[in-house]
């Protein structure tokens, strides 16, 4: 198939970017979206032009690196997948595809389609961990009884790969789904309860400091999340936060 691509090009974080049109031809419907981008870049390199910079790593939906806003939706029109898992069969011959970076004050553009997502790292570092004594007498995690329901819900929350699609999809550029998943994966387990109060307070504080917007429960994040993280996690974080606020004051 032959396609027209409208891609955001931006030389560096300080440069003023713009949308640029490209044509790609003979694209197989079996290709992944990133393979189509590779074809585009090979053509640009052959012509001596600067290839389009975009994030990618594992290309199997695990690492959370790929991050393209495709035709107005994070990770494109398909559901429950990352950009690297998106296939060209989702598009038709002659289509125009608009490709942009995640847009959020907290995710500044580094170059072209690559954004700085270290805001997520800082939220994680503010409390997304448990403190474990690793001096040789670490307790076997399986020695602590955990209900099946809690284990399943914690695992569901832990599947968040931190790609940032929730922020990209949200009309308010809110990071509540990501933060709540990281709060929940620990809050649901006995090992995580020990530091639960400080964790939720510190992670929410960091989330607000990073300049993300406020959640208005549109649910766009849940729909676009490649891992299907539920809004239930946001409700849990809200409960955790309110309880922690009372406990701390």
């Amino acid at each position: 198939m032959n396609l027209t691509l409208k891609i955001w090009r931006q030389k560096d974080s300080k440069a003023k970017g713009q949308m640029v049109d490209y044509k790609v031809t003979d694209i197989s419907e079996h290709m992944s979206f990133l393979e189509m981008m590779d074809v585009l870049n090979e053509g640009l390199v052959a012509k001596g032009e600067e290839p389009v910079a975009f994030d990618h790593d594992c290309r199997e939906g695990i690492c959370g690196m790929c991050s393209l806003q495709i035709n107005g939706e994070p990770h494109g029109p398909d559901r429950g997948i990352t950009t690297c898992q998106l296939h060209m069969r989702m598009f038709k011959d002659g289509d125009t595809i608009v490709i942009e970076p995640w847009r959020a004050a907290a995710f500044p553009v580094i170059k072209d389609l690559i954004v700085d997502r270290t805001a997520f790292e800082r939220i994680q570092q503010a409390g997304g961990y448990i403190s474990v004594n690793t001096s040789g007498n670490t307790q076997d995690a399986n020695a602590i009884p955990i209900s099946k329901e809690a284990a399943d819900k914690a695992m569901d929350a832990a599947t968040c790969i931190g790609c940032g699609a929730c922020v990209a999809a949200c009309k308010n550029a809110s990071a509540m789904l990501f933060t709540s998943a990281k709060v929940s994966q620990f809050a649901l387990l006995p090992q995580g309860r020990v530091e639960a109060t400080d964790r939720v307070m510190n992670m929410v504080k960091q989330m607000d400091l990073e300049g993300f917007g406020n959640c208005t429960n549109t649910g766009a994040c849940e729909v676009e999340c490649p891992k299907g993280i539920s809004l239930e996690n946001i409700a849990r974080m809200n409960r955790e936060y309110l309880a922690a606020s009372v406990a701390k004051s």
Binding site: G72, K205, M207, G213, E232, R236
Partner: protein, 224 residues
């Protein structure tokens, strides 16, 4: 506790609490108005009680005004903050693919409701305050008669088709606002238990109450 005021979650919860307060008030307001369809006398008595009872007038009314003002001001403040969180807009944004129109346009529906409230306050509240506290007439009677004035006044207001049309538009937008807002308030407070019941109850409330208000407005227009 000071951190709580600055926190995004605390702001969400404050919005939710003020919303639930307004939802309860709306139910009360609807109940009193609905009486007017059945009985002029009972409506007059109920209105006179609400308009002259000191507890309603000097405790509940100020709380209501604070609740309304807070909900609107906070709504606009949050919208401004949310706009600032995405300084560079998308060239193409397919919001309709992943979220309802209602949830994405709470500011639009809220602004129309605010415009409606300005007219509504001018129509009834300013008039009430003028008669009772400026002119000092606490009797609630039509001058020179023994009849209470409330039903007559409402009936008179709803004789104007333009006013009725604008009121109906306000109620439609109120319905759209509630279709998202009702269940959203519970989600903000972290309440997920009975989620399906809350969503269904919210949908029923969001349709029945505004539709009821539209019915009352049209009833008085038709029977003018």
């Amino acid at each position: 506790m000071s951190g709580l005021i600055k926190s995004s979650i605390a702001r969400k919860v404050a919005m939710a609490l003020s919303a639930l307060f307004l939802i309860i008030f709306l139910l009360l307001h609807f109940s009193v108005n609905f009486i007017s369809v059945f009985s002029e006398d009972v409506f007059n008595e109920a209105s006179h009680f609400m308009g002259t009872n000191p507890l309603v007038q000097f405790l509940m009314q100020p709380i209501l005004i604070v609740g309304v003002v807070f909900h609107f001001v906070m709504g606009f403040v949050l919208e401004a903050k949310n706009k600032a969180a995405r300084p560079v807009k998308y060239t193409k944004y397919s919001g309709g693919e992943n979220a309802s129109w209602m949830s994405r346009n709470m500011l639009v529906s809220g602004a129309v409701i605010l415009a409606f409230l300005v007219l509504h306050f001018y129509d009834f509240w300013v008039h009430e305050i003028t008669v009772k506290y400026v002119e000092g007439d606490m009797s609630g009677l039509i001058p020179g008669t023994e009849h209470l004035r409330y039903y007559e006044e409402m009936h008179e207001k709803f004789a104007d088709p333009i006013r009725v049309a604008f009121y109906c538009l306000g109620f439609v937008l109120l319905s759209l606002h509630l279709l998202h807002g009702f269940q959203s308030a519970f989600q903000s407070m972290g309440i997920r238990k009975f989620r399906n019941v809350i969503v269904k109850l919210g949908n029923i409330y969001a349709i029945v109450i505004p539709l009821g208000f539209i019915f009352i407005a049209l009833f008085h227009f038709i029977t003018k």
